[in-house]
Amino acid sequence: MRIDGKSEGPRQSMSWLHTWVGLPLGWLLFAVFLTGTLSFFHQEITVWMKPELHQSLATQPQAQQLQTAIDALQTRAPDATAWNINLPSNRQTATEISIRKPGDDPRDRRGGERLTLDSATGEALTARDTRGGGFLYRFHFDLYGIDRVIARWIVGFATLFMFVAIISGIITHKKIFKDFFTFRPNKGQRSWLDAHNATAVLALPFHLVITFSGLLLLMFMLMPWGIDAAYEGGRQDFFQAMNGRPVQQGQQQNQQRGAEQQREGMQQRNREGANDEARAANREAGERREQQAQRNGERQAGGERQANNGNREGRGGNGEGREQQPTAPAAPLGDLVAMLATAEQQWPNKTITSISVTNPNRENAEVEIRAQESDSLLSRGQQPSMKFNGVTGAVIATPEAAAVSIPSAIYNLTTLLHMARGADVALRWLLFLSGLLGTMMVASGLILWCVKRAPEQQAQGYKSFGYRLVERLNVATIAGLPIAIAVYFCANRFVPVGIPLRPEMEIKFFFIAWLISAIHATVRPHRSAWIEQMAIGAGLFFIVPIVNALTGGRALWSSIYHQQWTVASVDLACILMGTLLAWSVYKLQTKPAAVVKARKTVEKPVEKSLIQAEGQA
């Protein structure tokens, strides 16, 4: 079924669908793919963008780092209700601690005072104010500067288009198995098609999982009706049921209201920053929502407030003693280092990163130690954990995780992979590299659109508006976005520390660079635009590690010497990126543009670069 009424077979019709579904949102998808790929390392990027933290070296054994952290906590907040310690790992250089004081809401996971310590000396480090990798991570699904809900709808549509493009692409591909290992270089359109196919087919499982889970992560927003119809209290009841907690009739009224507040709550939660994007169906989600609803409630006026307190009491009876407990008598804190040793013995191949102590220095103290890598991706929160009595150090048995239903398991597996949560370093790198293949797939698809239509345009004697638009958008996106990212990294070091709205200033540089790239792509001849922007991008990425060394960050040789891979890997990735861009400049320059043979009298001057894209092959 085509608009122009021509008849065609299923493969051709799919090809048509593939082309026209892929193109309109292709540039957005490229941006989503690239920023998403970088987001596998958003934590590392954030550390890189806080050079003040590079001084912290994790050369000491973990036991000593833990002791340093405990000493700092004992002097700072011996009377806290909870401590949380995140030890340095391959994802962070310094020790992060958070302290919850008696007045704080004990269920607020992000609450409390947060501090970053030098892991060796225990000295508090103050880092510059920056959004760091969080900006790229957020941009990946929230875009920037527009309403979050609208942004997610846009990204959701793009994801759906991507899914359609992948499936129609598979059907269109004539020889998916026969051409599995085939790449024919230096053959113009053929090579671009091969490159598009190879990047798509080789990482096909990744593309399918990442796109499908992208839709799943947004499904509560895109398709809320099923849940709303089946559960009286809406999403909140659904999550409660998912968590295996019965929904009580008496609460219905309150929850109805809670559901109303939920949208607002969700937005607020989003404002709270990085990590909690897709915890929608997280094990804690139900709890979180409750907190949010309550916190919102607490901000409301008197009468409402009372009702809300009633609400909380109702919940308290329902929950497992989640009410704030009265302070227990003082008791010396047990030996955390010994507990750490027990956990280490239990998990010889895992990185232990998180140690949390509830009610430190009290009789009812409890210690929970968690490893970074999950044993299973079929359910949430599967990072192995051990609980200890905080005074005696005795291990507290934890209940076995409840069985997961198949739909939940699918949701969990795909979305956890999407977010690389609980993934070890190797899997994280594999996902990152697969993401790069995906980014190249989108880019080659966009370029292929132009390459395929070049002869047509040539015959016609001039480039039509649509064709020129696609060409320019291609340059502005495929070359422009990497430039903007490199500029963002540099701006991180050159925007003065301490000025108001500093993070926003860095982001401004990102968008200004991108805008300049778009303008440049419009005014310069197509081929020159590619070469110049690729060259600038390459130069910028090569400069980033140098800028890092000169502006207070740990230089690459030093970070490699001290095995500070968190910092070194960002520098190395920048060099890799610079090399890739420099290589494409070299390819573009050494392969001269095909000379256009005009079939008829040329009315408008034809740029020699019409088939420039072939030069990249």
């Binding site: 026969k178 085939t182 790449f183 080789l202 899997l427 590299l433």
Partner: protein
């Protein structure tokens, strides 16, 4: 480490599968192989893929093991594709290196 082993071993398995395809045989060997050889290569390729998947699942559990395996063979396939394109005559050399690498890594993995 497991990822590197999976990557190296499956360069071999996917090379076998590629070598069993008639369209690559001229590039690799300068001649077409007889059906018996094709069958043998196909069988060896699939067997090695299956064994490595099974081992990965055994070591790391079904979800993590299979995820790592799928991601790792993507890059084994990339290597085989690049060899088929740019170094078709060196297929055996590349495979010898891959075999050595996987042997060394596997030895290291089993010992430590």
């Amino acid at each position: 480490m497991l990822v590197w082993i999976l990557w190296a071993i499956n360069i071999i398995s996917l090379s076998c599968l590629a070598a069993a395809m008639s369209k690559h045989q001229r590039d690799f060997f300068g001649r077409a192989l007889d059906p018996k050889q094709n069958q043998l290569l196909t069988l060896a390729g699939w067997a090695l893929l299956a064994v490595s998947l099974f081992a990965s699942i055994l070591l790391r559990g079904p979800s993590v093991g299979a995820s790592i395996w799928v991601c790792a063979i993507t890059f084994s396939a990339l290597v085989v594709g690049l060899v088929a394109t740019y170094l078709p005559l060196r297929l055996k050399t590349v495979n010898a290196i891959a075999a050595m690498l996987s042997g060394l890594l596997l030895g290291g993995y089993l010992l430590f």
